[in-house]
Amino acid sequence: MVLVAPRPLLGPEPPGDAPADRGTGAEVLALLRGDAAARPRFDPGLAAGLRAWLEDAAYDVVAARGEHAPPLFLGPRQLLGSVEEQGDDDTTSERLLLSRLVHTLLRQLVHTGEIHDPLADALDAVRAGGIGADVRAMEALPVAARTALAETLALHARNLTALVPRFAPGWMPRTNDRVAIPLAGGRIVLHGMFDLVVGLPQPRTASLCALGLSTGGPWAVARRSLHYLSLLETLRSGTPPFRLALLESASGRYGVEDVREEHLRAIASHLAAWLAEGATAHG
């Protein structure tokens, strides 16, 4: 693994540390831009090899579950675990709600370059998204909880505003880019969502940068989730993103790294093992 930004990748510290330790959008942008001439070319056979590996594992699961079992949809939460879902039900739903709101603010920031009132903006965006359950959850909060949520959200929004580069439209920034890879004829679907992708896809050359937003989970899980998405992108388009950035909105820290074949093989190995375990459990 190449550490493009060694200091930030050491891992996040608790919120409240010196602002000087936090990253800026300009730093992140410079690291993402890197050396365009050095963008890696991946073996055209890599995607096929990875797919074959996963297909073998998927067919074992299908054999164990039965041909007519409904499709199995697997995302990073099932495959990699998610800190947002640890703890009791109330804590989990609060974390999930916060995560969704912060992600909404990231989209706004990328699209308009500014956030005015974090809670009000997020609420309006969620309403426009038609996600009634989230709107009801926020509207049902007692005043004290709503105030606390507004303060927490404001902290995340401040860090995001400092950390997220303002991409020129020519970078083609797009948010919530969903990837879904069917295996075993669609009986198993691996899915996930890039929080933010920039760059133009080019055949056989890794040319995209993917940015992930972590709102408070363990750094290692969030980073692994980006590797998982890189694998899905490899299966979708034939080449992975060439560089990844992980932004942590609770602390304002970030890390940037190149995608290597080792990352893809390691995560494919994990998935194959996970599926094999599933096949055994059903067998």
Binding site: P71, T104, R107, Q108, V110, H111, T112, H116, A120, D121, A122, D124, A125, V126, R127, A128, G129, G130, P169, G170, M172, P173, R174, T175, N176, D177, R178, V179, A180, I181, P182, G186, V189, H191, L200, P201, P203, R236, S237
Partner: protein, 268 residues
């Protein structure tokens, strides 16, 4: 650029025996005439890909099918997205982000000026806060970017038509109309951007596009190939302009209208 998608759109369309094509088209017209007559006195019914999908999911595995329509960032993304891609194709915008911003600003301008161009969508967009519009814009930018980046736009011999739905109104009943939705149309093909999981109904949804094109054409021209593309996975489905496609399309309409559609029901 997705070379497999480009090959599917630009590749030669297989030739069809004109006699069997004409016979299949006559059969389809006859079936549609029967359906229109059977529905005389009923309320106006428009058969779109949505109705076909919903009819296939009649056993209840498509919970979205029963929800009343409402504008949201998701339901608006295609309308805003195709308008944005159209702006890029004509050179009026240089990126999806610029194009979507332009389109959203246009909505507000039309509504405030009382323009006759303002649609229900424009009024909904104009009523949103800046943050709400940003959420809609973000969704449309992603939709438009994926389509824009997937095609080699300069390689088409003539400028593709972006996002024009085609309607066919039954000559036998003013109550029946069919819609063929395609996001990009070239001289020989129609691209339909798909979302959601792969499903048994997809070939019927695409066959409806072929049927509508065939019904609208004059003379012996073929309607071209229909290509369904899932940006989420990169998967393609090709539906060639063959007599069996017309049969499939007509049966899909029958199923959507609550008719027998026996072979489709068993396939679903």
């Amino acid at each position: 650029m997705d070379s497999r998608l480009m090959d599917a759109l630009a590749g030669p369309v297989p030739t069809v025996d004109p006699t069997s094509w004409r016979a299949a088209l006559d059969d389809a017209k006859s079936k549609l005439a029967g359906l229109a007559v059977r529905r005389a006195g009923a309320t106006r019914f428009r058969v779109t890909d949505h109705e076909v999908r919903t009819a296939f999911a009649a056993d209840g595995d498509d919970p979205g099918g029963a929800d009343p329509f409402a504008w949201t960032a998701i339901t608006a993304r295609r309308s805003v997205g195709v308008a944005a891609v159209r702006l890029m194709v004509t050179g009026a915008a240089r990126s999806p982000l610029e194009a979507v911003r332009h389109r959203l600003a246009e909505s507000s301008r039309w509504v405030r000026d009382g323009s006759s161009s303002a649609s229900q969508l424009d009024r909904w967009l104009d009523g949103l806060s800046a943050a709400g519009r940003a959420a809609v814009g973000a969704e449309a930018v992603t939709w438009a970017t994926r389509l824009w980046c997937a095609l080699d736009w300069s390689s088409f011999p003539s400028t593709p038509v972006v996002g024009r739905d085609h309607w066919w109104d039954s000559p036998h009943s003013a109550l029946l109309a069919l819609r063929g939705r395609a996001d990009v149309r070239t001289a020989t093909s129609h691209l339909v951007v798909l979302s959601g999981p792969r499903r048994g109904s997809v070939r019927s949804e695409l066959a409806l596009v072929t049927l509508v094109e065939s019904l609208r054409l004059r003379g012996d021209e073929g309607p071209g190939r229909v290509v369904g593309w899932w940006p989420d996975s990169g998967h393609l489905v090709r539906v060639e302009p063959e007599p069996t496609t017309l049969v499939l399309g007509a049966e899909a309409v029958e199923l959507a209208l609550g008719g027998a559609g026996t072979s489709l029901r068993s396939a679903a």
